[in-house]
Each structure stands twice: as structure tokens, then as C-alpha cells.
Amino acid sequence: MIEENRNGYEIYTLGDSAITIEFGKFINPETNDHVIARFKQFQENPINGVLDLIPSYHSLTLCYDLSFVAKQKMGLNSLIDQVKSRLEEPMQLLPNSSKLHEIPVVYGGKNGSDLIRVSQEKGIDLHEIIRLHAEPTYRVYMLGFIPGFAYLGELDLKLTMPRKSSPQPMIPGSIGIAGLQTGIYPSFSPGGWNIIGHTHYPLLNNGLPILQAGDLVKFIPKNQL
């Protein structure tokens, strides 16, 4: 495990074939802008041996070719030195070209089966939960987990729920909440988030995600409870 503190970021190893640069401790648009800008920088000007990049809310992960890195004189430290010098370069924050997606949602019922439990555990009535969830305009902080899964933030603090203790099967369009995040499952998959609603909004086009990091999302409640 390698830890480096400098200019407000930390670098840690993610196993022996990836490193993660963490730019902050919280979910906020400024940190995420930082992640996206550095992601573009590493994408446009790749480092030798780096095979894949995974941006997230507050971090950027570099997956590398272990054979290549292990043969360097200093092993992984050679790569980390290069990354650190890249992070010294000024970054270019991108002009805001985000798209707004208005997503219709049916809350509760068969395809939003955790809504009642969330309401009971939080002691907030169903209508208020829906209002709190549908009120903000969310930002797409990252894509990940499975193709086209968009992580949205920031959820109202009053709706913070832990993940389920074990992953459950999900259907496409399921809208879940976990921690300060909300998100939409684009395809059948196991998942640990609390499902409060469902949408038919298209999330994939030929297997590629429709929502992009930096886009905005507004949920439009479609049903009366």
C-alpha cells in the first residue's frame, strides 16, 4: 500500500495492477470536475504501460500492464513518479456542455419495493420521500459498476440508507439509493441499493451509455400513491 500526500491528493494501490488517485474525501462537483479534467489529460496523453482509466466521484484509477511496470528499474514507483509529475501540470477544466435528462419515475409498487421499508426506517412518509428524491437536479458523477450505470449525487442527507447486506437481483430501470448516492440500473444485474422506483427512460444505445459523466438528471414523479 502506497500513500502519498501532496497538493491535496493521495495515491493508493488497488491490488498489484492498478493505482488510484483520490482527489478529495467527499462527493462534490468541484472534486468531480477535477477527476474528469485529469481523466481527459491521461486519456489524451497516455502514460506508457497504462491500459485503462476508471474515473469515479472523487478518484481516478489507472490500470496498468503489470509485466511492463514490473520490468521498470523502480517497479511501480517509476509509474507513480510519472503520475505525480503529470499531476504537477496545470489542468484544463472543461467548458460546461452538460445535457439535462428528464427521467419519468413510477415510485413504489412492485418495481420500487424498498420504498415502504425506507419510509419506515427513516420515519418519513412516502410522499415526502418522493419529494426529497425528485426535488434536486442531480449530476452524473460517474459511470461504472456495469455498462451505463450512472452514479448520481448528491442525495438529500435525510434519505441516507446503508446498502443491503447482500446483493439482490435487479431489473433494468430500477432506481436505487445508497449512502448519499442515487442511481439507475440499466440492465439485469445483482445490486445492493435500496430500490424506490422504476423508469422506462432509455439508458443504453447499442450497449453504450446514454448518460455521460457531467450530465444533469431530474426525476419526474409519474404516479399518485
Binding site: 500500500m1 502506497i2 493508493y12 494501490t13 488497488l14 491490488g15 498489484d16 495492477s17 492498478a18 488510484t20 483520490e22 467527499f26 462527493i27 481523466f39 486519456q43 491500459l51 485503462d52 482509466l53 476508471i54 474515473p55 469515479s56 466521484y57 472523487h58 478518484s59 484509477t61 490500470c63 503489470l66 509485466s67 511496470v69 514490473a70 520490468k71 517497479g75 511501480l76 460517474m142 459511470l143 461504472g144 459498476f145 456495469i146 455498462p147 451505463g148 450505470f149 452514479y151 441516507t160 446503508p162 446498502r163 443491503k164 447486506s165 447482500s166 446483493p167 445508497a178 449512502g179 448519499l180 448516492q181 444485474s189 445483482p190 445492493g192 450497449g207 453504450l208 451509455p209
Partner: protein, 310 residues
């Protein structure tokens, strides 16, 4: 038409070696579960080490070769038979036209690879009666089965419950007792095990904090701690990101060994460091390349003697 899937198995695919560069869109790299066996299978038939090949679980599919070709069988031992004759593992084998390949009994391991000289066209799940084409015309054909007299050493540090891991970002969340138990105590592999992840069986681990973490990247070999205190090791078809604490990561050199473990088998985790992980990986790759070099020499020699028909 070069080979036909006569009967389908439980989970058989034409597998690549991981598709890198798309994880920023949430598209997982996938690829072979046991890179060591798959690379050696390719080396034995003179392929590049990362050529696409068949990855087969048990109960396995039945394959009819409508064209003669050179193959190798490496990984789990499922007792391979060709037209009722037992086939050895870890050797080049020339399959005659209309040879029917079956796997009749699982003896050891979990996943077997069949490499075909020149590789295969297509990708993904094998379905009944699908025709699969060879990428290249076979160099040598035969009318009767021919088993080559050399075999690859695949026992290289393979059979032991020890799996080496590097501490994860959230390792410190485990309390002292759980950290002690995690290292060095044997766990059984659960029946919940597939290409996405292998779950382990143990008493729940306890953490110092229940604080939720912000989702970020995971890796092949990442060991996640579920809120129930149970653990799962993410395998080849893992998701790109996750929000469960990452307590440790299996080193790349030990992923193949872990992939071949069956439900009920013991796993013992040992903590190691990046430097050792790099050394182990280099040693493993060197072993594979040696097998590749020797195989190539032997095959060239053989092809020179027997021009195109045996």
C-alpha cells in the same frame, strides 16, 4: 464450418484475454479466468499467448470437429475423451476429421481451456449447434488421432491453498481480531461462485466503523467486505466500480490458482507486498514464455518432417 457444439455445457465461452480501455464507460474487461492455463494452452499449439480460445466449465459441452486441427487441453481435469479414447492434458493433439470431444468426469480444478491452432472466430457463450470457424487454415491435418510426445509443466506452484494478497484501501476498517482471522485461517470457497465473483465461507468479520464509502474502482482479485461481514473475491467478469470496503486484493500471480478452486476447497490468505507481487508475476510469465519457446521449436521440427498431412 470447423467445429460444431453438439451438446451445450453449463457455462462455455470463446474467451479473449480482457478488453482494456472501456472501463470509463462501465464496460468490464472480462477475459479468461485462469490466464496461466489459457496462455500455456495457446503456447502448446504455437499460438500467440493471448489468442482467443474455449473456456469450459463442468458439465462441459460436446464438440464435433468437422475439420482436422491441432488442439491442446489445459486447466481443470474433466477426463477428456475423443471418440471414446482418453486424451491426455497439457500436450499438443492432432484431432482427426469428425472427432467427437467429450468431458466425462471432473477430477480436479474448475475450468478447462481448449486452444486451437490459429484461433477461433467469434466471441461469447457457446450455443447448441453453433458452427465455429477456425481463424486460419490448419497447418497440418490427419485422418487418425495423433498425440504428441511432449507435455508442458503446469504444476508450477499450483496446488496449495495459499493465496497471496495485498492490503486494500479499507483494510484498516477490519478490527484487530478480524484482521488476524483474515490472514492465515483457512476459509472454504462457497457455492456462490461464478465468473463475476467467488464468495467465501467464514464467521462474519467485524469492522471498526459502519460508515458508507464512496463508490470507486475495483479490480480482478479485489476482496470486498459485504455489510453482512461476509467476503467476495471479484473475478474476471467483475463490475468496474463498487461501494463495499476493499479489504485486500489477490496478487495477479495467484489469480489463476484461485480461479481453479472448487466450492468447498480451502483458501488461506497470506499478506504480501507489491514488490513480491511483481517478482511472482515476472517469474510466472517467464515460465510461460519458456514453455512457449520450447513448444515452438518442437512444433517447427515436427512440421518440417511432416509437411501437411500425417
Amino acid at each position: 464450418m470447423s467445429l460444431i457444439i453438439h451438446k451445450v455445457g453449463i457455462l462455455d465461452t470463446i474467451q479473449h484475454f480482457g478488453m482494456k480501455g472501456l472501463q470509463s464507460k462501465g464496460i468490464r474487461p472480462g477475459g479468461v479466468m485462469d490466464q496461466f492455463s489459457a496462455s500455456i494452452a495457446n503456447a502448446l499449439v504455437g499460438n500467440k499467448l493471448n489468442e482467443d480460445l474455449l473456456e469450459i466449465h463442468f458439465p462441459a459441452c460436446e464438440i464435433i470437429f468437422t475439420k482436422s486441427c491441432l488442439i491442446s487441453i489445459v486447466g481443470a481435469n474433466f477426463t477428456a475423451k475423443l471418440n471414446e479414447k482418453y486424451l491426455p492434458m497439457n500436450r499438443p493433439i492432432l484431432i482427426p476429421t469428425n472427432g467427437k470431444l467429450q468431458f466425462v468426469a471432473p477430477k480436479s480444478g474448475r475450468i478447462v481451456y481448449i486452444a486451437i491452432q490459429g484461433g477461433l472466430l467469434g466471441q461469447g457463450r457457446l450455443i447448441k449447434n453453433s458452427d465455429i470457424e477456425f481463424k486460419k487454415k490448419p497447418k497440418l491435418t490427419t485422418t487418425s488421432l495423433h498425440i504428441f510426445p511432449w507435455s508442458a509443466d503446469v504444476d508450477w506452484r499450483k496446488y496449495s491453498p495459499e493465496i497471496h494478497v495485498i492490503q486494500g484501501r479499507e483494510w484498516e476498517r477490519l478490527n484487530e481480531e478480524s484482521q488476524r482471522k483474515f490472514c492465515c485461517k483457512p476459509f472454504k470457497l462457497s457455492h456462490h461462485a461464478d465468473r463475476m465473483g467467488y464468495r467465501l465461507q467464514h464467521d462474519p468479520f467485524h469492522t471498526r466503523t459502519k460508515e458508507e464509502i464512496i463508490s470507486s474502482a475495483v479490480n480482478f482479485g479485489t476482496i470486498q467486505l459485504l455489510p453482512s461481514g461476509q467476503t467476495i473475491v471479484l473475478m474476471a467478469d467483475h463490475q468496474t466500480t463498487g461501494g463495499y470496503p476493499r479489504i485486500a486484493h489477490v496478487i495477479s500471480a495467484d489469480l489463476s490458482k484461485l480461479a481453479q478452486k472448487s466450492p468447498g476447497e480451502d483458501v488461506v490468505f497470506h499478506l504480501t507486498d507489491q514488490e513480491t507481487a511483481e517478482k511472482e508475476w515476472i517469474a510466472q510469465q517467464k515460465h510461460i514464455r519458456q514453455i512457449q519457446n520450447i513448444s515452438q521449436l518442437k512444433l517447427d521440427e515436427f512440421f518440417q518432417k511432416n509437411s501437411n498431412q500425417l
